[in-house]
Amino acid sequence: MKHAVLYLILLTITAISFTACRQHEDCPAFDETLFNDWFPYETGVDYSFVSSDGIREVLVIDEKDFTKAYSIDHGTKPTYTAKCDVHGEMRALTDKDKPNKIGMRLQQSQVFAGIKSDYVVLEFRGSKQILLNATENTLGGRHERGSTQFSTQEHHSLDVNGMTYNTVIQITITDESEAARCGLKDIYIAKGQGILGYRSFPGQREYWKEQ
């Protein structure tokens, strides 16, 4: 009986020490603030862009993937090979049967390989990846790791089709061969609007979001 009690105590201590040694890491959920402020897109809704000569193109967000809060179990002998990865992504898919449907991929990385990250990646209408600053949930200009093939400038306000938009970021594809490849010269992003408009290349046709 005495041995059985001792055995039980020993077993309990062992179990507790094993449990205590297990190391967990909590990864936060994707924070949607920046997306809500800058790209308030709803899935499945048509956002139309019309050129001055009446050509219409449509942006539809088909898929959204936002990281949910999760926990990494590093076990009792942590190697820390698994790291937090927190990001959100919206995708507008190209469809072979819908040539006027715009393809877009918008991703915000908040934690990558366990380290806080601060950029938004935009691929729009066949463009290469455009890296923009996303510090403190504020969308800014070209990220320091962004390609030199594009530049950005911020307009305090911009008048388009009789309406005034505040805080507009203009992305310009400065490399002419890249602009010709993707057929795009400028992209305008307005706070609260998402993509406000874009200018094709070499035709310089302007498309603006239909309100």
Binding site: T94, D95, K96
Partner: protein, 210 residues
């Protein structure tokens, strides 16, 4: 003293030999082939046209390079690359009645430090005489342009065709002169499905995978 020259030569030879090392090249990884061309050996894949014509292909041979050793650079010698190949093909190399040929030859070349590699899937399909070289760009198939005169490629995320939904579609267009030579101007490839269809030229008859 009279042996000094011979000893010196022997030592230099030994030093050079000591510099020779071998490097292990990995076995062929078939994940890219499986992703874009998930064909099983011995299975027949049928293609049907809207007017009821039928063509089919059967992969009957697969060859994959195994792990092997190559010699690293010798002093003054040529630096070697690892060549890692995988092949899936039909046994015929021209159209025989309703049977159509397909050859997929995936070549991967890696330098000795694994710091640089080149890869391409050489595809010869149906009436094609020379292969088109395809690159795996994740969700897209790309063309190695310098080797693919007469071919262009466009990628789409989704396509509903022949009552099926496909993801990641490569729409390959073969230009007039080449199309005229091989009697085909379109090949459609979808990730996870392989060749889903093609179009004959100039008739414009479309065949879709059954």
């Amino acid at each position: 003293m009279k042996y000094t020259g011979a000893i010196l030569t022997l030592m230099i030879t030994m030093a050079i030999s000591a510099c020779d090392r071998t490097r292990t090249c990995p076995a062929f990884d078939d994940s890219t082939l499986n992703t874009w061309f998930p064909y099983e050996t011995g299975v027949t894949y049928k293609f049907i046209s809207s007017d009821g014509r039928q063509e089919m292909l059967t992969i009957e041979q697969e060859n994959y390079s195994q792990e092997h050793e190559i010699e690293k650079k010798r002093l003054g010698g040529k630096e070697h690359w690892c060549e890692i190949n995988g092949e899936r093909k039909t046994l015929i190399d021209s159209v025989v009645q309703e049977q159509i040929p397909l050859k997929l030859f995936h070549v991967v070349e890696q330098d000795l430090n694994n710091s640089y590699s080149m890869a391409g899937i050489n595809m010869t399909f149906r009436t094609m005489v020379k292969p088109v070289i395809l690159g795996d760009g994740g969700d897209k198939l790309t063309l190695a342009y310098s080797y693919n005169n007469g071919y262009s490629i466009e990628n789409f995320d989704v396509w509903n065709v022949n009552n099926r939904n496909y993801r990641n579609i490569a729409d390959i267009t073969i230009r007039d002169e080449e199309a005229n030579k091989i009697g085909m101007d379109k090949i459609y490839i979808a990730k996870g499905a392989g060749i889903i269809g093609y179009r004959t030229y100039p008739e414009g008859r479309e065949y879709w995978q059954e």
